[in-house]
Symmetry: C2
């Protein structure tokens, strides 16, 4: 799942490629992906492709139907979206509330780096890259302590929420400002402010 893994193995390269195609909208929702076509395109056997399909299905970017293969996932239905937003807020706020004092200087440096990537993506108007770094930012907050495997709860929810969805129009900079506000509050050890800013960013 790390970016180094993603360039070292065939799986990582294929997964990275397909993920960007899906998040950027180059692949239409509901479009079928055939194992054989992908494996030929990348010059590998079916094994790695199947493994990538499994990963992306688990993350909610593909939808698998028995004996019919995988299709590109659609946005969550309007009836599901309020639930997904609420669940994601609950998880992230819960973790931030419980482990706020365990956030270290190193964690903050890490978040600053991600925030820079977010700023770059916003300036370039690159929505799919912004989604990647946006998710990295929130993942880093959840992982900034040792206890428990909250990521396993968070990931299937957060990724489904991100499919072809953005609250921001052409000016993506608002996304940067929202994340900057979160980080500023963390840096000044303002727990209530951080939670408020985090909640406002998950909509």
């Amino acid at each position: 799942m790390t970016s180094t893994d993603e360039i070292r193995t065939m799986q990582g390269q294929i997964a990275e490629y397909l993920r960007l195609d899906i998040l950027s909208g180059r692949l239409e929702p509901d479009q079928a992906l055939r194992e054989q076509e992908i494996s030929e395109r990348f010059g590998v056997s079916r094994g790695p492709v199947r493994e990538v399909f499994r990963q992306l299905t688990q993350q909610g970017l593909l939808v698998s139907t028995p004996n019919k293969g995988v299709r590109v996932a659609q946005q969550p239905s309007p009836s599901m979206r309020p639930l997904i937003i609420e669940l994601r807020q609950r998880i992230e706020l819960y973790v931030l509330d419980r482990f706020f004092d365990q956030i270290t200087k190193d964690d903050i440096v890490n978040l600053e780096g991600i925030l820079t990537d977010i700023k770059d993506a916003c300036r370039k108007g690159d929505k799919s890259t912004l989604v990647e770094h946006d998710l990295r930012f929130h993942k880093a907050i959840i992982e900034s302590h040792e206890n428990g495997d909250y990521i396993a709860l968070w990931q299937p929810i957060a990724l489904r929420m991100s499919i072809r969805y953005s609250r921001f129009g052409d000016d993506l900079m608002d996304s940067f400002y929202e994340h900057k506000r979160i980080l500023d509050a963390i840096r000044s050890r303002d727990k209530a402010g951080a939670m408020e800013a985090l909640k406002a960013n998950i909509q």
Copy 2:
């Protein structure tokens, strides 16, 4: 995931075997599972075993560490449990609230069958079988309509909550009564009662 699949393929047999070993406590938490040992025991190659490990890891029954393989999952930490319970309640109550009117006679017949299995498991004092049917009951409620893929959100949460945990002591019959109360309310089209009974059962 259906029981017919589970007996037809090697994967299904291995998954069923390991799942029962884990849920029943025959395998100690934190115990390492080696691919080679399992594949030799079932007389298959590493492929199916790796696939089963992936499935059980996704379900939260195993924990995977890079280059170190899988271990039997421990109970969620005490700090995580309140969150897990809350998330599971939110999902199930949300679905029941939205789709209560779509529950058909067939769905109720299905739930009645599962309730019978729950009663049998309670009478026998068979905790691991009870866990299986308990989860089947809730899964059937969530799936008793066509819209959306709520199961993908629910499963990682519900299974983690069930690892080696029971609110009931030696007398498991209370579990049966709780589920009977849910089904009775559904049958009499009492939405508020069903939601209350469902919430009380998720603790």
